[in-house]
Symmetry: C2
Subunit: 146 residues, 2 copies
């Protein structure tokens, strides 16, 4: 039996599990405000820069537009964002935060810190976190180009 097949030797399974469990940890904080985790990511993108076309949001999150479009349509239905055709380019759909969308930033102000604390442990702390960030960034950069 090939030890390369052992589940405990798989980087991907660790990433997959860590990602899922951390997303689950976000859930109670977000669902209390009617949000899902991917919707929260869209908010992070728009809080940095409002009024972006779907494509820019998708690219920023490394997602396809066919994932982001319905996601944003749900957010529109919830009154968090508006969608309107681009003036310069009528193909684009510009996504803008509503007041409710901006208000959520105030309501969720403690979420990033809470989630940061949720992963603090022996090997991941203020000192070592940058190394982890660098490793994940390098992996993402390498896979992105493929």
């Amino acid at each position: 039996m090939n030890e390369k097949f052992l589940l405990d030797n798989q980087l991907c399974f660790r990433l997959y599990t860590a990602s899922r469990l951390l997303t689950q940890a976000y859930n109670p904080l977000l669902s209390a405000h009617g949000l899902t985790y991917p919707q929260y990511l869209v908010l992070l993108v728009l809080w940095e820069k409002d009024a972006q076309p779907v494509n820019d949001i998708a690219k920023r999150l490394y997602l396809e537009t066919n994932t982001v479009t319905p996601l944003i349509q749900r957010m529109e239905k919830e009154g968090i964002v508006t969608r309107s055709k681009g003036e310069k380019d009528a193909r684009q759909m510009i996504v803008r935060l509503t007041k409710k969308g901006w208000d959520l930033q105030v309501e969720l102000v403690d979420v990033p810190t809470a989630m940061g604390n949720a992963v603090i442990c022996e090997s991941v702390n203020t000192e070592t976190a940058p190394e982890l960030f660098k490793m994940l960034d390098d992996i993402i950069a390498k896979l992105k180009t493929k």
Copy 2:
């Protein structure tokens, strides 16, 4: 504007993205054999120990049975596994590899190495990988108990 909200400061987004992109990298290798990534994970579990109840497989993957059940039903339909009631405990559904399921291990023998190579970069290599593994394991352990 709170810098804690910056997308680039979020560990979770990195994990989420790295996990998704790495899963995407697996896809061409797996879909060539009619497999999805979660189905591949189930195979890894069964190759280690055949004839396990749904619950043990789910626990090993940190998934709920309501995720694993339909996933395994699809694998049954593909002739990769069989499902049969437990003899000792009739509530259990024992999952067993078929010959086709075992044959896949031979067909996929190069996948783990290929995927390992896919993430090798400056900061993640033979020397540093154990640190990354430890960090992810610690994060998983911390989140698991919540």
